[in-house]
């Protein structure tokens, strides 16, 4: 993929990839560390906020609880008259703004010996304090939770919250404190009755509304049984418990969280908000005095909103930075590779044969400069070489032309017209010379000595080329001359005579094998002499071929034969 790309592209690609990789590693490390730091901070903040809320609510519950606890102490140390009790109760309700009503409920016969039910109840009706008695046998307060539970447990109990009787939609809770017979009575220490106060829990809502938790975080409050007392969704308040919501949404995790909360545990966990399903962190803690539990909900997205924004900006800067870097690298790579590109263009021209193509002018003395200088030298050397080559080729061509002419001349001294004696039917002859080079030392010849005698010869000069061809021309010329001059001489004589001439002044030390015949056309007799030539063959009438192995002597030009 990269192979066909330019150097500039490759350089940019590698540097940019490396830079992006380093930037990505840096960014993700930075992001994860920041995230952890933010989360750590958020956990601390949430726990702090949770504890602060717990404390502010507990303060109210505790101080309110003190009132019936003090009342119990007063009853245990001795209020005996009905009148004093009424006056005392009325004062308590009147002077404590947070108290809506209060009752003192006695065991059967525990105040008036003959009364099964005695439970005066004082409550606010507008500005007035009203008094009634819960002594309706049909109601049978002895069996009511607010009475029975603290009696059995022998400790004060906050009730499950409930709507006020008046139908005003006010959430109330009752705090019931058991009290016992005084020390100095016969029943000392035995259970005598319950003192209750009813308080409105409306203020709880305000405590939670005052919480500011990021954009849409919030707090909620659960009763002992997990019922929502404060929640952003009014439909849940007093209607559903966290377990009901978990059941409706089949959310086991929520149920488990609810169990932890109503069991008085504290914690910080990630979960999905019921309904919306968005990811949230939940910090929860118990309200020890009432057994209620509070939860603080922090949306994860909002917790990391700043970080996400920061991350987006950093990413943007990174992208712009990479783009700028790309520009710079591209520019630098261009500066570096431009001379190479120009050199490459020039070399292409040289490759195409233009040895005078101008090379780019390189001022620098770096690798590119050195390469260009080397190229320059090579260019000059190449031009010289080509010049030499041209001259040599011209010379060679000239020689070859001369050789061609020499060849033609050589061929022209050998009879090449066939049939050579068209007007004769008693004899026919054929010959061919194929030289290894343009000219050579092979030869043959034939001629009529007179009407009845045909002379024919075949020879081969030692060596090849021009010297051999010259020697061949001399040999042939000698043969013709001797044959014409020495009429009726035998082939042996003629060859001996030729040998003498050839040996004279033969400084080059050349020789020629030679076979010469004279055929009597009338009689068919054939005289021959073989001077070192290959054995000739005879084709007999019956088709047999036999070699004529007789050799009469050395090749011609080696040494003078005796005449």
């Amino acid at each position: 993929m990269l192979r066909n790309r330019s150097l500039r592209f490759k350089l940019s690609a590698f540097v940019l990839t490396g830079t992006i990789l380093v930037a990505a590693i840096l960014l993700s490390y930075y992001y994860s560390v920041s995230r952890r730091l933010i989360l750590d901070g958020a956990i601390k903040n949430a726990q702090h906020l949770t504890q602060e809320t717990v404390n502010s609510i507990e303060n109210v519950f505790r101080s309110t609880a003190k009132i019936p606890e003090n009342l119990a102490y007063v009853f245990e140390t001795g209020i005996t008259s009905e009148e004093a009790l009424y006056r005392f109760m009325e004062t308590v309700v009147e002077h404590n703004t947070e108290i809506f009503g209060s009752t003192v409920a006695f065991e059967p016969g525990a105040f008036f010996a003959d009364q099964r039910y005695f439970s005066p109840y004082f409550y606010k009706d507008g500005e007035r304090i009203v008094h009634s008695d819960l002594n309706d046998p049909g109601y049978n307060y002895h069996l009511q939770d607010w009475y029975q539970i603290p009696k059995v447990l022998r400790e004060p109990v906050w009730s499950e919250p409930y709507y006020d009787e008046g139908g005003g939609g006010i959430i109330m809770a009752t705090y019931s404190v058991p009290f016992y017979w005084p020390e100095n009575s016969p029943k000392a220490g035995e259970f005598r009755g319950i003192i209750t106060i009813d308080i409105s829990l409306v203020w709880l809502k305000e405590v939670f509304e005052a919480l500011k938790i990021y954009e849409s975080g919030y707090g909620f409050l659960l009763s002992q049984s997990g019922k929502y007392l404060v929640h952003p969704n009014p439909d849940n308040i007093m209607n559903a418990s966290i377990f009901d919501i978990a059941e409706l949404q089949q959310n086991e995790h929520l149920r488990e969280l609810g169990r932890k909360m109503v069991r008085g545990q504290r914690g910080f966990t990630k979960t999905n908000e019921p309904g919306s399903g968005r990811e949230v962190y939940l910090s929860f803690a118990p309200l020890p005095s009432s057994g209620y539990a509070i939860g603080i909900v922090i949306p994860v997205a909002e917790l990391f909103a700043d970080l996400s924004r920061l991350n987006r900006n950093v990413m943007l800067i990174a992208v712009l930075g990479v783009l700028a870097l790309f520009g710079v690298i591209s520019f630098i790579a261009g500066r570096i590779t431009d001379p190479i590109r120009r050199l490459s263009g020039a070399t292409t021209l040289i490759g195409q044969g233009d040895f005078n193509a101008p090379l780019p002018e390189i001022q620098s003395n770096d690798e590119i400069g050195k390469l260009t200088h080397s190229f320059e030298k090579m260019q000059i050397a190449l031009a010289e070489y080509i010049e030499n080559l041209k001259e040599t080729t011209a010379a060679k061509e000239k020689i070859e032309g001369e050789l061609r002419i020499a060849h033609d001349i050589q061929m022209s001294i050998i009879p090449r017209t066939f049939p050579p004696f068209p007007d004769r039917s008693d004899v026919d002859i054929y010959g061919i010379v194929e030289s290894a080079k343009a000219v050579g030392g092979d030869l043959y010849d034939f001629f009529l000595l007179d009407d009845d005698h045909l002379g024919a010869a075949i020879g081969d000069v030692s060596g090849k080329g021009v010297p051999a061809s010259l020697f061949m021309a001399v040999t042939r010329t000698l043969l013709r001359a001797k044959s014409m001059n020495m009429k009726n001489a035998s082939p042996g004589k003629i060859i001996t005579s030729m040998d003498m001439d050839l040996c004279t002044e033969n400084d080059a030390g050349m020789f020629v094998t030679f076979f010469y015949i004279i055929l009597n056309l009338k009689t068919g007799e054939l005289e021959y002499c073989n001077a070192g030539h290959n054995p000739p063959f005879i084709l007999h009438e019956n088709g047999d071929i036999t070699a004529l192995r007789t050799v009469h002597g050395f090749p011609l030009g080696v040494m003078e034969a005796d005449p």
């Binding site: 539970i149 447990l153 002992q224 049984s225 418990s241 377990f243 059941e247």
Partner: protein
């Protein structure tokens, strides 16, 4: 009281208080359950009662009331969402804690009890065996001293009163 740890044992209707306990955060495996039916106390509950004279004077009205009651149940089982919506809206109007999960549970369990899965019909019929078994339990624990004859106590009324 039970939830506050004041008592170790409590009785609860399966279709009602049992669910309340579950949705106060107790898991079933944290409770030991004893079903009355497993101990021979499978006693019917919630009959429709009237004076003898009312029935003799208005037999048709009584029949229609019984049939309408059963058809109401049938409709509620067939349209649980609509039934729950009606109940929840009424509860909200009256400022009674309107707990959808609880109402849903109760309706489903009522269906399990009076029209178990697989049984296509509702029956209002009180069998003599069940009547006499319930009577014996009441006599044995001293709640009553004698059991009225079956025919005096129960008259099958309407088209659903079939065994």
């Amino acid at each position: 009281m039970f939830l506050h740890g004041g008592t170790d044992v409590t009785n609860a209707m399966w279709y009602n208080e049992y669910h309340t306990i579950l949705n106060c955060g107790y898991n079933p495996d944290e409770l030991s359950l004893f079903y009355m039916a497993d101990y021979g106390f499978n006693v019917p509950e919630d009959g429709l009662y009237c004076l003898q004279s009312t029935y003799s004077e208005n037999p048709d009205l009584c029949r229609r009331l019984v049939e309408a009651t059963m058809e109401g149940w049938l409709y509620a089982f067939q349209h649980p969402d609509e039934a729950l919506e009606i109940v929840i809206n009424e509860m909200k109007k009256e400022h009674i804690p309107a707990n959808l999960a609880h109402q849903q549970w109760m309706l489903a369990r009522m269906q399990d009890i009076i029209m178990p899965a697989g049984e296509a019909k509702l029956s209002t019929f009180l069998t003599r065996d069940v009547y006499e078994m319930s009577g014996r339990i009441l006599i044995n624990n001293g709640s009553i001293t004698e059991l009225p004859p079956y025919g005096n106590f129960y008259i099958p009324v309407g088209k659903y009163a079939q065994e």
